[in-house]
């Protein structure tokens, strides 16, 4: 069984805690917090022992969800994977019911979270249930924390989905009856790619998912029709050319028309995955950006790195944030740079680990940006091998999947329907030589 549970912030504050074993106090978390602050290379492993206590934690939404396990119990024998999975599910439930999970919302909704924890960790014994079943046992009300307006995003602006672009909407499912009537359909894709110097893609894996979140009372049936069919079979005739190697539909989804139409019965406030797919390796991958670079010698001691980043996403799309990290040659002392293209660009150099970071904010689709970076003292024939590209692009997906039609039956008046597309990078490395 778990002896204690807490939610801690990155600064080491405990935002919420429950102690199940009567002999313990909040001091049981202090070894964990000291381990967090003292770890030199990032976070400690998900399960570790310190000062005689076994800690297991997950890191979600910038918060640490920590459990202290009592050794020798059956839960301990089941292994740490059970606890990490359960903590992850607890986080999903809490974020579904609380809306946004931030430090303010947790402290404001302590009662609600306390009730959820009680239901799912009854006295320290983990018994997680699916969110919809759990919701029927929750009696607390959610308190919308008053945040700064920068965080509350209108669905038209993107890039404000922080670390988990999968969450469709930032509303709590507990206020379905009284909140706005809204429906969100999100198509989110993650790109993991390796690109060579000429721009050819060496290895790429694009995984995508279509998620739906519906804030309507009752259980109306939602029908989506797409511009391409979600299936692994090759399509005949004219098609968008989207080829998928794996398609996995969520539970309770009815698939029709060879994968072009899907329908599902919605549950108020719950996020449902319609499908998860992976693009086939021979899909004509159009990565959202093409990066080319070259190094040339300016003087015998300095080299210049020229980088050009072209956006392939077309007009109307925007990337709120694009970053390119590259390791400078070992002897580089400093850099001087100039950029052209979008207004908000910065090039910074970190002397400790010799990394150059080129950041572009609000990069409009279809344009290009250039940076000329002078590497001081790097040697005339220095070269830069490869770098990492991080981006988020809204209103565009690699696969070209488009949701053409969204229908609810029975028909609901005054419904706001939002369809959002987002592509994020999950490790895109570009070789420059």
């Amino acid at each position: 069984m778990l002896k204690a549970f807490c939610i801690a912030s990155k600064r080491g504050e405990i935002l919420f805690s429950t102690i199940f074993a009567p002999t313990l106090t909040k001091a049981v978390f202090h070894p964990f917090l000291s381990e967090l602050s003292s770890s030199p290379h990032g976070d400690p492993p998900p399960a570790f022992t310190k000062e005689g206590q076994d800690y297991v934690y997950v890191f979600r939404d910038d918060l640490y969800w920590v459990g202290v396990v009592s050794s020798g119990s059956l839960t301990h024998q089941c292994g740490q994977l059970l606890i990490t999975e359960s903590l992850g599910q607890l986080h999903r439930v809490c974020s579904g019911l609380c809306g946004i999970l931030t430090q303010h919302s947790i402290t404001a909704n302590a009662t609600l979270i306390g009730e959820i924890v009680q239901e799912s960790m009854n006295g320290g014994f983990l018994q997680l249930q699916t969110p919809d079943k759990l919701q029927s046992h929750i009696y607390s009300r959610v308190v919308a924390a008053k945040e700064s307006s920068a965080v509350i995003s209108t669905p038209g602006l993107f890039g404000l989905e922080k670390s988990a672009p999968g969450t469709a909407a930032q509303q709590s499912s507990l206020i379905v009856d009284t909140g706005k009537r809204e429906l969100y359909v999100d198509v989110v894709e993650k790109v993991w790619a390796s690109v060579s110097a000429e721009g050819t893609v060496i290895r790429a894996e694009v995984t995508g998912s279509i998620q739906v979140r519906c804030f309507l009372p009752g259980n109306p049936t939602l029908a989506l029709s797409l511009n391409t069919s979600l299936s692994t079979l090759p399509q005949e005739g004219f098609s968008t050319g989207t080829r998928m190697s794996e398609v996995e539909f969520g539970s309770g989804i009815n698939v029709g028309d060879g994968g072009r139409k899907v329908s599902v019965m919605t549950v108020p406030g719950q996020e449902m995955t319609i499908a998860r797919y992976t693009l086939a390796p021979d899909h004509p991958h159009l990565l959202p950006f093409t990066l080319t670079g070259s190094t040339a010698a300016l003087t015998p001691s300095d080299a210049e790195l020229k980088l050009k980043l072209v956006s392939n996403t077309g007009m109307g799309t925007v990337s709120p944030h694009v970053t390119f990290h590259v390791s400078a040659p070992p002897t580089t002392a400093a850099i001087m740079s100039r950029t052209s293209g979008p207004r908000d660009q910065t090039v910074t150099f970190s002397p400790d680990n010799k990394t150059i970071t080129w950041t572009i904010s609000q990069f409009p689709g279809g344009s290009y940006a250039q940076a000329y970076i002078r590497l001081v003292d790097s040697g005339g024939n220095a070269s830069v091998e490869s770098g990492e590209l991080d981006f988020e692009v809204s209103r565009w997906v690699c696969s070209g999947v488009r949701v053409e039609n969204v229908k609810l039956s029975p028909h609901t008046e005054g419904l706001n329907k939002w369809v959002r597309y987002l592509t994020t990078s999950d490790s895109v490395s570009v070789r420059l030589t």
Partner: protein, 584 residues
């Protein structure tokens, strides 16, 4: 739901945060009709009753009344609270017994866990009143969560006797229903089934068939539990392991591709304990690759597991993928030692590793250079074998990530002492038998750019100061290939160091002398003389070396574990004998 007044809300939030409330407030909250108030208050009472004695007395009646309320939520909340209150054991037992046979599943669940709470403060009550039998009956309930709660309760209560007893009936019954259990509950069931062993072959086959469907599960905790159970039951049939690995391979790859850091880390940790997984997982290596955005612990874990899935086909791709991480400040140690292990797989990998080491040895940060030197020794001393099997490779210097220096010293010392202990035993025989010491191959070929890079790396003052033992070890072992070894040795001998490093200095000097007697003669003499003046280990090491060179000059090279190039061997021995005669 009746809206709660602001004062009540405040009291509730204080309760949740664990503060102590005056008893009168608690009683008032308990008496309210609001379900939420009652739930939270009951929970609070259960927590605080041990420190607050009045609480039990004043609330017992209210709770007993609520235990037969119409609303199952209220019933279960009050039952949980009652079970924790001291002083009312008989009523508590009565209430729990009726709870375990209640109509609502929620109440039965709480009843089972309530037994745990009662046991914690009044163990005799449970054991005497036959609640354990009621819990055993609960194992046949229709609701899966009730079953798991009964299991948890029984395990806790019977902990003194070794936990719940799983006999054949229970095992078969639970397995037959296991597909109805959700992920978390299934794991509990699978874990307690580890305590049961099938008695006959047919029974084993039946049980394994029941597990088949679970092996395809996509839930990581369930998958790991099933694999553990499978391996436990098939201990006598190791050939089934490969089939099982093939069955779980798609699920494992799917779980890894979702890239949840904690899950991937723990799953990879589990995979590394499964033994030989390279044949099954080798072709799917792309799921095991390190990504730049992974947290530090995940990168380290993946770099540990990558050598386990390397085969001749994929090792070059793996090396290309690991290369960029060798200069990453978080994970360079793991990356470099991973490269070292991968280099053993094939000759192509070996050569790739050596060429990559050339770049690394020139890195500006001395920690990277040190890691590269360790990897170099690892790679050079155990060249690749044709059939790759990492687990069977010869015992190389085990280079841990935290302190390799200690291990290197130990390695050096044990080699020397082993050889010298043989010396004392076999003084009679002119040629002692060749024991299996980790001797480098005579045909070692090091490319010129690598030797240049090694010399550059070893000449750095920072490296010499940061890792003197390692530098001396490299100097000594690779002496025939490093032309300026005596110069570096001279430079090091002018630095200040601890006794153990001094002893290593003496060893290294001897090893370099064996391959380059003319250049090192005077230096060796000076070092030996200095060592004799120090008390302790350096002096004893120096004495041993002096004795070796005196008495067994022809076998000195072998005994001192020095590398000697084949063609020069005979020349060296002649030179040695002349020099020793001269320098005495």
């Amino acid at each position: 739901m009746v809206p709660t007044s602001p004062e009540k809300k405040q009291l509730l939030s204080r309760m949740i945060s664990g503060a102590d409330l005056p008893t009168s407030d608690v009683v008032e909250l308990l008496a309210s009709h609001d379900t939420l108030c009652k739930k939270l208050t009951c929970c609070h009472i259960a927590d605080k009753c041990h420190s607050n004695n009045d609480l039990a007395l004043l609330t017992a009646n209210l709770l007993l009344r609520d235990a037969s309320d119409a609303n199952p939520t209220i019933r279960s909340a009050s039952i949980s609270a009652l079970a924790a209150l001291p002083g009312i054991e008989e009523s508590a037992v009565r209430v729990l017994t009726s709870a375990l046979s209640d109509q609502a599943a929620m109440v039965r669940r709480c009843g089972a866990l309530g037994c745990v709470k009662l046991f914690d403060h009044a163990p005799e009550a449970i054991l005497e009143c036959g609640l354990t039998d009621a819990l055993y009956d609960g194992l046949r309930d229709s609701d899966p969560i009730v079953i798991t709660n009964c299991i948890l309760a029984l395990d806790h209560i019977l902990q003194a006797e070794g936990g719940i007893v799983v006999n054949k009936n229970i095992a078969h019954y639970l397995l037959s229903r296991i597909m109805q259990f959700s992920e978390c509950n299934a794991v509990y069931v699978l874990t307690i089934l580890l305590r049961y062993s099938p008695k006959s072959e047919e029974e084993l086959i039946l049980l394994l068939n029941a597990l088949d469907e679970l092996l395809l599960s996509r839930a990581p905790a369930v998958l790991v539990a099933v694999v553990k159970l499978f391996l436990h039951w098939t201990q006598d049939h190791p050939h089934l392991k490969k089939d099982m690995l093939e069955m779980i391979q798609p699920s494992v790859c799917k779980i890894l591709s979702r890239n949840v850091s904690e899950t991937s880390c723990l799953l990879l940790d589990f995979l590394s304990t499964l033994g030989d997984i390279c044949k099954v997982f080798g072709p799917h290596y792309k799921y095991f690759l390190v990504r730049a955005k992974d947290p530090g612990y995940l990168k380290t874990q993946k770099l540990k597991v990558l050598p386990l899935i390397s085969t001749e086909d994929n090792v070059c791709c793996l090396m290309e993928e690991v290369k960029p991480f060798c200069s990453d400040y978080q994970s360079f140690r793991g990356a470099v030692s991973c490269m070292g292990l991968l280099a053993k797989v094939s000759h192509a990998a070996h050569n790739m590793c050596l060429s990559m080491l050339v770049t690394l040895l020139d890195a500006p940060a001395e920690r990277v250079v040190i890691a590269a030197l360790e990897c170099l020794m690892n790679v050079v001393l155990s060249p690749p074998s044709v059939e790759k099997n990492i687990s069977e490779s010869p015992p190389d210097p085990v280079l841990s990530q935290s302190s390799s220096l200690g291990n290197v010293e130990v390695q050096n010392q044990t080699t020397l002492e082993e050889s010298l202990s043989q010396l004392s035993l076999h003084t009679e025989e002119p040629k002692p038998e060749l024991k299996a010491l980790p001797m480098p191959q005579n045909e070692l070929e090091l490319p010129q750019n690598l030797t240049d890079a090694i010399i550059r790396a070893l000449s750095h003052e920072h490296v010499q100061e940061a890792a003197p033992s390692l530098v001396l070890y490299v100097l000594g072992t690779l002496a025939p290939y490093l032309d300026s070894a005596p110069d570096i040795l001279q430079h090091i001998s002018s630095l200040a160091f601890s006794p153990s490093v001094h002893a290593d200095l003496v060893t290294a000097a001897a090893q370099i002398f064996i391959s380059r007697p003319a250049q090192t003669q005077l230096l060796l003499a000076a070092i030996l003389a200095r060592a004799f003046k120090c008390v302790g280990e350096p002096a004893s090491r120096a004495a041993l070396i002096y004795a070796t060179l005196q008495e067994h000059p022809s076998d000195a090279a072998f005994l001192l574990g020095a590398t000697v190039k084949q063609s020069l061997r005979s020349n060296n021995e002649e030179c040695q004998e002349q020099q020793l005669g001269g320098s005495d």
